[in-house]
Symmetry: C2
Subunit: 352 residues, 2 copies
DNA sequence: CTGAAAGCGCTTACAG
DNA sequence: CTGAAAGCGCTTACAG
């Protein structure tokens, strides 16, 4: 006979203990070991026993206690999505959201929960590093546009499976073993600049990202490459830098406009900065695309969040997130780190 | 003498077992029980023993194994941030990001990890409900703009601590015990419409949200209230509905422009919809704010993501997220559900 | 194919 | 104030 409560009041938030593997075993008429075997792949279990166990699971509403499982397996069956950007910028960039959503859903398909961790300050970084290296998660999806990230190195050195979003350009060798997934920045930039050239533009300036980010370095390299190839000017006066924020793009564009008043096209290394560029151009009285053609990068929600809609380079975020999860699950399973570079695509809209 | 490895190769991803409470006890020269007491508040421990334990923790780099702790305490020391919106819209709305970041950080201060869960489809909802009711998290921060959410009811009925963002307007009684935190939608709408009236506007239309959301209902009520009070028209022809998306705002505005060509102001129930409204107005050749003054709601990043910058009503997201976490931690600790309504603030920019 | 048993790392009455 | 011991719910060799 089941006894419950035994005279002690249940407070409003106290829940009944959920059924355990023991309850399932009793209902199914087998041992706990057999239930566990059914739960873990069903090897070495007779069809009859397996069916009895499955029926008992349905009947009891049993759900495995992950803490108990983790305690013995040593795995947590969860992963962290770690952002090491300064906090303010993090969520201003729509790319983070797309990536976060994609990773959450790709992991859900594996029944693996995602822990969101933010480590913008040194103190937060210490907290997170401690948490992760203590084994509370099986692996880390790392997102930071700036490379040479000390967190990445620490985690990799501690033997934690880590997959970065974007190509690491830190001190060579140390990050060589850092698995990563990225879009082909250089080739994407080339495609956009070729497009601007094909439009007949000849004074093509660029708002580049910071040079400690792969998007900053590689998209600038792609811009230069195509211009040099085409025999068009590609000097330093045609380059200004932004920090991937809208305001940064606006400032950099104002700077370019002052330095190169006759520019007829602008390749901006991110859509969000491009929105700022559009604002600067409007304030300066330039019509887009008539006076100045503007090409962005990312195909983020920012590309269509205002007028004119941006012609841009699409980063395949869905694939980036699913590949990040795939590579991370592989690492956790013992595979070697790998790098995945995904192709981009030109998306033509109104601005160029 | 420590033995490790004992002849079996460590694969590249295998980590050394982290130190346990047993290691700390040995180094400190006390029992495991004493170490545990120091870890859990330090009651009934002599100062000398406590200091020895703390030193041993530093020396060994010990971090508690949360799985073992949870197994015995029955708490997971983690909470879920659950989104039950259809997936596409989720991350288009900048408010979600601000809220997510705020909650993550408020929880981090309690050393409580946040699990991000998305349940847009019925299948996902079942998965998540099962996971949560199995006790894998201690509580849920629930975000969905649509109310009468079946997930909320199920969780509350299962005795799970839940705090919703936004006032629930589901079937009365059933959601009465649902703790929630919200901005004062009605009062915020009133303030904005009063502002538009003070600008001398007399034909003030509105793009309202869906009527199954509190923001849809209450902001519309605030709009109507002030107009009636001021003796201005507030009929149905002045109301169009959007779904909180940019495109929805654009469509609704085009509809209004057709129906009420002489409108001179527009109160839009969200900044994102207001950006769409601005696009519709521009396409129709209306100047903002000269021809039509536009007031938004939220003060989300969308408010300043284009020109003109939006005059809007600020929702205190930082406080909303910190209050949600505070109320949830209270619920988990056994407190009764409570509702927190936070004041809003008019932010004047260019559009009105 | 199956059960009995050990043990993962921790917390918490229970004695002292 | 402190230690020895039980036990949280599970997985996994180990016998049979």
């Amino acid at each position: 006979m089941e006894e419950s409560g035994e005279g002690h009041r249940m407070s409003s938030t106290e829940r009944r203990r959920p059924p355990t593997i023991h309850d399932v075993a009793r209902v199914a008429g087998v041992s706990r070991g057999t239930v566990s075997r059914v739960l873990n792949g069903g090897h070495n279990v007779s069809p009859g026993a397996a069916e009895a166990v499955r029926a008992a699971i349905r009947k009891t509403g049993y759900v495995v206690n992950r803490h108990a499982r983790s305690l013995i397996t040593g795995r947590s069956d969860s992963v962290a999505f770690l952002l090491t950007e300064p906090q303010e910028k993090l969520f201003e960039d729509p790319n983070f959201n797309v990536l976060l959503r994609g990773c959450t859903q790709a992991l859900a398909a594996h029944d693996v929960p995602l822990l969101l961790m933010i480590a913008g300050t040194p103190a937060e970084r210490r907290r997170v590093t401690r948490y992760v290296t203590a084994g509370h998660v099986d692996g880390v999806l790392l997102v930071s546009s700036h490379t040479g990230d000390p967190v990445a190195e620490q985690l990799v050195e501690a033997g934690i499976p880590v997959v970065a979003c974007g190509k690491p350009i830190g001190r060579k060798g140390r990050t060589a073993r850092l698995a990563h997934v990225a879009a082909d920045d250089r080739d994407g930039a080339r495609e956009m600049v070729r497009h601007l050239v094909s439009l007949g533009r000849r004074r093509i300036a660029t708002v580049a990202g910071p040079m400690d980010t792969p998007g900053g370095v590689d998209r600038l390299a792609g811009w230069r490459e195509v211009l040099v190839e085409a025999g068009l000017p590609a000097g330093e006066e045609l380059v200004a830098h932004g920090d991937y924020s809208r305001d940064g793009g606006e400032r950099a564009t104002a700077e370019l406009l002052e330095r190169v008043p006759d520019l007829d096209a602008l390749f901006v290394a991110s859509d969000l900065m491009a929105r700022g560029a559009l604002a600067a151009l409007e304030r300066a009285g330039r019509r887009v695309p008539r006076d100045v053609a503007v090409g962005g990068f990312d195909d983020s929600p920012a590309a269509v969040s205002g007028l004119p809609e941006l012609t841009t380079i699409r980063q395949p975020w869905d694939r980036i997130s699913s590949e990040m999860v795939r590579v991370l699950m592989g690492l956790i399973g013992g595979e070697e780190p790998s790098a995945v570079i995904l192709p981009t695509e030109l998306v033509r809209r109104e601005s160029a």
